[in-house]
């Protein structure tokens, strides 16, 4: 029997090339600093890839967020009150606050070209933290560092604006 035939393959198994590529992308972000590659790879397997067309909203300010988002390809605009806050490219991530707080999103994220997006859900993070508390603690520390860096950046911008 030819087990290589698609009929005999696990239909739901994620393609290996995507997993390696996304793992590499996450490993290059500060969120996965000091996290073993093997664990990151296992997490990528349960992450959710989605495709967005040009000008399609990824999320809207006010909606409850449930995940951090990585851009696999394409680019995304982050806007608040129609003011452009950032333009993000492949390999960038955003929405990390939703991983620790059950609060509404504070900005809009819009795909400005055809984009492949990877969602890492808070519920998956919670399960992973329970399973691997050591790596989970490191990941939480990394999120705190990222959020602190963003806060510091915002403070500098505000003080520059005021002065």
């Amino acid at each position: 029997m030819n087990t290589e035939h698609p009929l005999w393959q696990n239909l739901f198994r994620p393609r290996a090339d995507r997993i390696s590529e996304v793992t590499e992308m996450w490993m290059n972000t500060p969120l996965f600093e000091k996290i073993p590659r093997k664990e990151c790879r296992e997490l990528v397997k349960i992450m959710h890839p989605r495709h967005y067309s040009t000008n399609e909203k990824i999320f809207t300010s006010g909606e409850i967020g449930a995940s951090v988002v990585l851009i696999r390809s394409g680019s995304v605009e982050i806007k608040a009150n129609d003011k452009l806050l950032a333009e993000l490219k492949a390999g960038d991530f955003f929405g990390e606050v939703a991983l620790i707080m059950d609060e509404p999103r504070t900005a809009d994220a819009i795909a400005i070209e055809s984009s492949d997006i990877i969602f890492f859900l808070r519920s998956d993070l919670d399960e992973w933290v329970k399973r691997s508390p050591k790596s989970g603690a490191q990941f939480m520390l990394n999120i705190a560092t990222v959020i602190a860096a963003r806060l510091r950046h915002t403070n500098i911008l505000l003080s520059l604006q005021n002065s």
């Binding site: 739901f12 959710h48 006010g62 909606e63 409850i64 519920s123």
Partner: protein
Amino acid sequence: MMQAIFNHPLGRTILIFSGIFLSILLLGVLLAPLLVPIILSFALYALLEPISEILERQGFTRNTASLSVLLILLTLAALLIYAILPQLSGQLTALQTQLPQVWQSITSMSDNFSQNLLESFKLHNANEGITQQIFAQANDWGKTALIQGSNLIISFSALVIIVPIFTFFLVRDYRSFRNYMLDKLPNSSFEMGWLIYHRVAHQLQEYIRGIMIQSGIICVITSFGFYLIGLDSPFLLGIIAGILNLIPYIGPLLAMILPVLLALGKVPIELWLIGAAIGVILIAQIIDNLIVIPSVIANSVNLHPLIVIVGIIVFGNLFGFIGMVIAIPMISTANIIYTGLYNGIKTRHEIQHRVMTTQQTENE
């Protein structure tokens, strides 16, 4: 008209919720013959999934971990078939043969009581025979229930074979299948869908694990208690008490009936045994309410007691015993889905309204 209803957050929520509800109902009707094995398999999946996860963390593949879980299940099933079931069947047969004696004892006790009552009040015995008729009817019902109980054990043996197979596939493929289905959601509802799913799954898993542990504890306490006070068929009665405990509020009351009847059937009648049988159930309930519920299933469902009781009656009327057991998780699931949908749709509606107002202001 339809458009206006769909544009309103409440109308849209009710329409989507009704769609989900009707789909589940249709699925329930189609899968009616397999409902019991499916429910049992999901309950076992909720219990065994953590074991599979632990095995996977130790380096087992998903297939090997699922196979190991299946082996654990098969061992338990084999134990049930070869060790526990024949004993239970024996206890049930003993109970069946004992029943006429129990009814006879209760009938004579009742006759003595009514005779004393009539003599005390110097009344004519106009209702002579009614007590006998009532107890004859009750005797028939009791016998039928026990015969059905014996048939249940035969069906149970079939379940012991089907359920492990279903559970194995659930442990192995449920997550992949769930991801496949939820990834079909449109981009706009993707995060909301997952949020609702995880709230439902978390609550159901907590509830199922909690209530199974709770029933197990009640089963052990009551079996031990009935054995200590010298009641016949203590383990069968304990298992019945544990199963009936799956029905909140009403279950513990139902669990008292059979032990009390058996205690009443003792010749000569032993009043202390009746008190002791009630006492065992009450002690089990006290331990359950003071220790088990706060530590095992506290906050797993947050429903008003009145909704729980009405739900149990309605589901019991629709689906029998299994309906009474699934009433609470079903109402709780419906509550989370409705609330999650309504909050998500309302927020989106408010955002759209805000955007439109801003655009109108800018145009003006």
